[in-house]
Symmetry: C2
Subunit: 268 residues, 2 copies
């Protein structure tokens, strides 16, 4: 049983979580593990594409906030964690060839190459933790579903082969809660920051608020507004569209758990 | 001609503006005068009511942020301005008896009493200046009209005879501008701070967004949301409802110009 397995390591210690993934004892979602620590999206690309991807992220910091990256071929990212090995420490990966997913292993040592560069990109788990700590209800968490996400009509600034729409995640909130959520997430520019949009889905090209492009629907009640944040699925969607010969990402929900404290990536 | 009269003093100097009001050379609106300086709403009450009113303001800081108050009978408020005389330095006053306006003089020395306490309450001019400096359009300013205001279903916390609904002002904004406006006004808790509400007028008891209770209508376009801030008309409305035997307020738009810098009342 997965839960029993996961009890065999210290779920509060980010190093223990990474080691459990490394040993193959943790192969699923990282939500709720190592509370207070930053979790990140993963994108690994060959060096000849990594320069363009780096530029893409820098030009689109709201959907693609880089919180760490590796040297080519080096699986360590010391700034993000002690004894971190990007090839083993994520519970589950996705391996892509020419834009097609060809494998979802729990370890990528067998496909690692000397020219690969790993990018770790901020994730909404960090700001959701801050929202929850402030007493704000988050619908998809309360319902145990995946946050709903949409491709918008807000184009990213392109760089080399990387181009495409900004993907947003949506959390329905009462207006006063939405105002408070804007205040709180403004403090977290390293993990998507303030919302991109609020209240008028059609204005950003979302024609049916009940039908997300990714994730699961979340009801927007009559006394609520939909609040939209830039989403870390953007870089994955852009990589998929660019169809690079080779790429590796994390599997959805199976993030890199870093040693960084969420509180320390707050700007204020 | 009023404009010509107003050119006879230094419109950028808050002391000169107050002295012009004192001399009777300035008898109208203070909007645009002494740019960068805090302007305030005025409420003057006899000491036996002032204690309850002070408590009311402290309990309702968003609509009633006190930026200064006088000692009973003392017309100076040194913390707000050099050589400030609250009896002469506001261009136009309103004198109230039993809740009825009985006069609108340009000078209140003849009705001043030793038991009167003056309260100066923050005003939206300060945060509007910050919004404009950030390039955000403000509909009622662009149209040259008065900001639209409504009594809401958000009750103030009562104190003694002072009770009533929170009054809000509304500025229509595109969603991304509204998010930016929330960030900017959050820095100004001394002048109403972040909005109270956004996007769903009915939720706060506003049934017709085209018909304000005070001020003039401002069009909300299809790609905009109405954004609602707590308003300094709240304490005036509460005083009118309490029908105190004697009270003095400023005339609408004719504010106290202080020496305080708007930038210095920002919390960050």
């Amino acid at each position: 049983m997965a839960l029993a397995q996961q009890k065999s390591f210290d779920r509060f210690d980010p190093v223990a979580v990474r080691h459990a993934a490394r040993r193959g004892e943790l192969t699923g979602d990282t939500a709720g593990l190592a509370p207070g620590r930053v979790q990140g999206n993963l994108a690994i690309l060959p060096k000849d594409l990594a320069d363009d991807f780096l530029r893409f992220c820098v030009l689109n910091p709201k959907p693609c906030p880089i919180i760490g990256m590796s040297e080519p071929g080096n699986p360590a990212i010391p700034a993000l964690g002690i004894d971190l090995d990007i090839r083993t420490d994520i519970p589950r990966y996705r391996v892509w060839k020419d834009g097609v997913m060809v494998d979802d292993p729990t370890d990528i040592r067998s496909v690692w190459r000397d020219d690969l560069v790993a990018f770790v990109i901020g994730c909404s788990y960090s700001f959701e933790e801050a929202l929850i700590a402030d007493g704000l209800p988050i619908r998809h968490i309360a319902c145990g579903t995946t946050v709903p996400m949409w491709r918008t009509n807000i184009a990213c600034t392109p760089a080399g082969p990387f181009a495409g729409p900004t993907v947003v995640s949506m959390r329905p909130m009462k207006p006063a809660d939405a105002i408070r959520a804007i205040q709180i997430t403004s403090r977290f520019p390293a993990v998507h920051g303030a919302p991109l949009h609020i209240g008028l889905p059609e204005a950003i090209g979302i024609m049916d608020i009940t039908k997300p492009d990714y994730g699961q629907p979340a009801e927007v009640k009559p006394d609520e507004l939909p609040v939209f944040w830039a989403c870390g699925v953007t870089p994955q969607s852009v990589i998929a569209a660019a169809k690079p010969p080779f790429a590796i990402t994390h599997a959805p929900g199976s993030m890199l758990v870093t040693d960084l404290l969420n509180s320390r990536v707050a700007s204020l």
